[in-house]
Symmetry: C2
Subunit: 197 residues, 2 copies
C-alpha cells in the first residue's frame, strides 16, 4: 500500500484550490471545466480526480476554507484590547478583499451558486450563520467592556453588519465608482457611529 505523506497531500490540495480559484475568478464556476483547472495546476485529470472527484467538491472546499479563515480571524480579534477598533479593523480587511477583483468575483460566484445549488447554499448559509454568531459574540463582549453601546441588541446589530458586508460586495458588482479600498473612513463613520455608546 502506498503511504500518503500528509504534508505533500496538503500541498497538492492547496495547489489545486489556488488553480481553481484563479479559473473561477476569471470565468465563473459554470464557465470553468475541470480540464482547465488541471491545466492551471499543471496536473493530470486522474491526479486531480484523486483529490477532488467533482467540480462541486472543489467549490465546497473553497467555501469550507473561507469558513475556517473567518473563524481564525475572529479568534485573533477576540484577543484585542479594544474590540470596537478590532471590529473596524476587520471591516478594513473586508474592504480590501472587496477591492481585490479576483476575490470579489469569486464571492459573487459563490453567492450566485448558493441560489442554484442547494448543497453549496447550505455551506454558504453555515458560513453566514457562523460569521453572524462571531460578530454577535464579539459585540456582547465589547458591550460588557463598554466599548460598544451596552443597550444595542448584539444579534440584531450583527445582522446589520452582515448586511453592510453584503452591500459592499454588491456595490463592487454594480457600481464602478465604488472603490472599496478608498472607503475606510465612510465605513468607520457608518459602523463606528452605529455601535458606539
Amino acid at each position: 500500500m502506498r503511504k500518503v505523506d500528509p504534508e505533500k497531500h496538503a500541498a497538492k490540495r492547496r495547489l489545486i484550490l489556488d488553480a481553481a480559484i484563479a479559473c473561477f475568478s476569471r470565468k465563473g464556476f459554470h464557465g470553468t471545466s475541470t480540464a482547465e483547472i488541471c491545466a492551471e495546476a499543471g496536473m493530470s485529470p486522474g491526479n486531480l480526480f484523486h483529490y477532488f472527484p467533482t467540480k462541486h467538491t472543489i467549490i465546497a472546499a473553497i467555501v469550507e476554507e473561507e469558513r475556517q479563515e473567518t473563524a481564525e480571524i475572529f479568534r485573533k480579534l477576540n484577543e484585542e484590547a479594544d474590540l470596537l477598533a478590532a471590529l473596524l479593523g476587520f471591516m478594513d480587511t473586508v474592504l480590501d478583499l472587496a477591492g481585490d477583483p479576483a476575490y470579489a468575483s469569486l464571492a459573487l460566484e459563490i453567492a450566485a451558486e448558493s441560489m442554484r445549488d442547494e448543497r453549496i447554499g447550505i455551506l454558504a448559509a453555515t458560513n453566514d450563520a457562523e460569521l453572524k454568531a462571531s460578530l454577535a459574540a464579539l459585540l456582547r463582549e465589547a458591550a460588557g467592556r463598554n466599548q460598544v453601546d451596552p443597550a444595542i441588541d448584539a444579534e440584531g446589530a450583527a445582522r446589520w453588519i452582515a448586511a453592510v458586508i453584503d452591500g459592499i460586495f454588491s456595490r463592487v458588482a454594480v457600481d464602478p465608482g465604488f472603490k472599496p479600498k478608498e472607503e475606510r473612513s465612510m465605513m468607520r463613520r457608518l459602523l463606528g457611529r452605529f455601535l458606539r455608546p
Copy 2:
C-alpha cells in the same frame, strides 16, 4: 386605420406588466414563458406581441417603471420640511418592499439578469445612478438646512446608503431570520447616526 385609445392601451399594458411581474416573482425570468404570461393576463399571444414583442421588452419595461416610481418618490421627499426624516421614511418603504416576498424575489431576478443580459444591465445601472444622484441631491439640500452633517460628502454617503439598500435585499435572500419589516429601529440607528451632524 384603427385608432388607438391611449387609455385602453395603457390599461392593457398595465395588465400585461402585472401578469408578468406575478409570473417572474414565482418562477424567475428564465422559468417563465410568454405563454404563461398570456395565460396569467388572460390574452392571446398575438395580442401580447402587439404590446411587447419579446420577453426582454417586458423586463425592460418593468425596470423602466421602477425608475419612474423612484423618481416620483424623490420628487415628493424633496417637498418635506425635515429631509432626514423624509429619507428615513423612504428607507422604511425600502424595508417594506424587501419584506414583500414577490417584490424581493423580483428585485433579485433583476439583479441576476443584469449580470447575464447587458441591455438589462445598462437599464439597471441607469436606475442605480439615478437613485444615487437623487439621494446625493437630497443630502446636499438637507446639509444646507443642517438636518444632516454639512461635513459629510453627499455622493459618498449616497453610495453607502445604496450599499445598505443592496445589503437589505441580500439579507432577505440569504438569511431567513432577517425580517425587514421588524428592522426599522435598527435601520434608523444605522443611518440616522451616520448622517446626523
